[in-house]
């Protein structure tokens, strides 16, 4: 791991921004810089899954990454015109649930990992999921919910996606406090987790296989 990755893992904002500025100053390939920053972020995610880091650290790492990216991205645009995103993810907290925190963390992490994220917000009706899938054509749909009552709503939303003939076009992942304890087959989804980083990993694997 390079200096930049290490600084991200250490949650050392000054170190990260210093390394980025130095890289830009010495004409390092900006893609290399962003990938190194991502590597650091990925390591933080791994440490989170091992239980060595916590949600607060995960969020902090993403914040630092975003600041670093705001310095690097203009350089990327200067050097590479047609850079493509890794993939497109539509994400929202399901109808009847106004919890934003978990969904917000996942959306931030996905953006940091190079995904285009369409965030539908909270309390999202089933039909909005359906319409936005038609509009944006994502590869993955992520549904979030903290309440136990959100679980059947996730099932209903999947059904609405099915009825609209869109289920075959998207992978569906659900996440939230108790969601990881639910059988995926009960609500017709492809993956269920209570762990933000695990969710990101699963989405990355799906997209890579495509």
């Amino acid at each position: 791991m390079g200096k930049l990755s290490e600084a991200i893992v250490a949650l050392d904002k000054e170190g990260v921004l210093g390394a980025v500025k130095e890289g830009i100053h010495t004409n390092t390939d900006p893609i290399q810089l962003i990938e190194e920053a991502r590597e650091g972020l990925q390591r933080v995610g791994e440490e989170f899954e091992k239980g060595n880091y916590f949600l607060m650290e995960l969020m902090r790492a993403a914040q630092i990454f975003k600041e670093a990216a705001s310095l690097i991205n203009p350089k990327i645009q200067e050097c590479y015109k047609d850079i493509t995103m890794k993939g497109k993810v539509l994400i929202g907290t399901v109808s009847g649930d106004v919890h934003d925190l978990g969904k917000g963390i996942v959306a931030t992490l996905l953006k940091c990992r190079g995904f285009e994220v369409i965030d539908l917000g909270v309390d999202t009706p089933e039909q909005v999921f359906v319409e936005k899938i038609k509009e944006h054509n994502p590869q993955v749909v992520g549904m979030s919910g903290l309440l136990t009552t959100s679980i059947p709503v996730m099932g209903k939303t999947v059904k609405a996606i099915e009825e609209a003939g869109l289920r075959g076009r998207v992978k569906v992942i659900v996440g939230g406090g108790v969601v990881g304890e639910v059988k995926t087959s009960d609500i017709g989804v492809d993956y269920a987790t209570s762990n933000a980083n695990e969710g990101i990993r699963v989405i990355e694997n799906w997209i890579e296989k495509e």
Binding site: L11, K13, G51, Y53, F54, L55, M56, E57, M59, R60, Q63, G96, D97, V98, H99, D100, L101, G104, D123, L147, T148, T149, I151, V178, E181, V182
Partner: protein, 390 residues
């Protein structure tokens, strides 16, 4: 089976780390009482006598625990001054006429309320209380409406619960509720901003935690006095809520540095004023159990209880068993999606791990979901009777 102790005596024995006739059982029932009692959330929040009738009806369906939660949120949700900061900031008070709700039950708002710590600390707490960002309805209601909910309604509410406690001999889980400053400040700032504060202005976060502590505790004690502390069994207990204050949300280091100082100080304030502290934690506190060893340090025996959600209860018993009563932790998902047999097996294991020597109350992890299966909640209560005899 005839029971030799009253419910309150059984609960008190557990707080005092003594074995009673059996393990006490106390699901933390909130909206499930309204749902199973056949009333709407609106009725639950506006008509205390109707709510009590619903509680009695619900207990017939879900079983009769040794205590009941008076849902303190409903005591003062429409008043302003004595409201807990947690209610003020975090709950979306859409109140529905139907149950199951078409929308959500009251839920968390996650948004930035405090823009400047110094401003709040300089100008005082009213800058938070009278804030359109928190509670825009406040500015649309009449003075009469306020006065009613400020002064009359809490009395009516407390009277209804007092009658329930006396008639059915069921003590209250709590008389007042406070939120741990760290969590309160987190809600006031919003998670993303708060994370940045922890790393970039840690001293301000600590100052703000100190600043909100006294207001929050005094408010809870005031609630408990209205509910009849000293006269109504259980009303002397303050539910000191610590949701997003430990793993997996924050690290043990952050817990120790930012959460613990005002948590312990708050517990001391509650107990030194003659009340009892029911410390409610969410998340998995297993890694910080050693810190909790000092939660009752310097205080008389039987005044503090620790309530756990995802924590390893066996480990909690090992570490804290001789210090404080522990409470927990039948999973919400099991109560909604499991079977009575699975619930019974879970409870049996909990009792085996935690009950020896007293100091354990069989309870839900956080609250009983409103959509929990009645037969599962009943299985939990029956398990205490079947497997929890001393």
């Amino acid at each position: 089976m005839k029971e030799s102790l009253s419910r309150y005596e059984r609960i008190e024995a557990a707080w005092n780390l003594e074995e009673a006739d059996r393990v006490p059982v106390s699901p933390l029932n909130c909206y499930i009482l309204a749902y199973q009692g056949g009333i709407s959330i609106r009725e639950m929040f506006h008509e205390p006598e109707k709510f009590i009738e619903a509680v009695v009806e619900a207990r017939k369906k879900i079983g009769e625990g040794d205590q009941e939660d008076p849902n303190i949120t409903t005591l003062d949700h429409l008043s302003l001054r004595p409201k807990s900061g947690w209610d003020q900031v975090t709950l979306d008070w859409r109140i529905w006429d139907q149950f199951p709700p078409e929308g959500n039950i009251p839920s968390f708002y996650e948004k930035c309320i405090i823009e400047d710590y110094d401003d709040v600390m300089e100008r005082g707490f009213s800058t938070i209380l009278f804030n359109k960002k928190i509670y825009k309805d406040v500015f649309e209601r009449s003075l009469d409406d306020f006065l009613y909910y400020e002064f009359e309604y809490p009395e009516i509410y407390a009277k209804a619960w007092r009658k329930f406690v006396e008639e059915y001999e069921v003590p209250l889980i709590m008389g007042g509720r406070a939120t741990i400053p760290f969590e309160l400040v987190l809600y006031y700032r919003g998670f993303a901003q708060f994370v940045q504060d922890i790393f970039e202005q840690p001293d301000k976060v600590k100052d703000m935690c100190e600043f909100v502590l006294e207001h929050e505790i005094m408010n809870a004690l005031k609630q408990a006095m209205i509910m009849g502390a000293g006269e109504v069994p259980g009303a002397e207990k303050i539910f000191f809520q610590a949701g997003v204050v430990g793993p997996p949300y924050v690290s043990p280091e952050v817990f120790e540095e930012f959460v613990w100082p005002t948590l312990k100080k708050g517990v001391d304030m509650i107990v030194k004023r003659g009340f009892k502290a029911h410390v409610h934690t969410d998340g998995d506190m297993t890694s910080v159990l050693p810190v909790f060893k000092d939660i009752a340090k310097g205080l008389p025996k039987g005044k503090v209880l620790l309530d756990f959600e995802k924590t390893d209860m066996k480990k909690a018993k090992e570490v804290l068993g001789d210090k404080v009563c522990i409470w927990g932790n039948v999973p919400a998902s099991l109560l909604c999606y499991g079977t009575p047999t699975e619930v019974e097996e879970y409870c049996q294991k909990l009792i085996r791990d935690c009950a020896e020597g007293g100091g354990f109350i069989l309870a839900t992890e956080c609250e009983t979901p409103w959509n929990a299966k009645p037969e599962n909640v009943r299985a939990m209560i029956d398990s205490a009777i079947k497997h929890g005899q001393y």
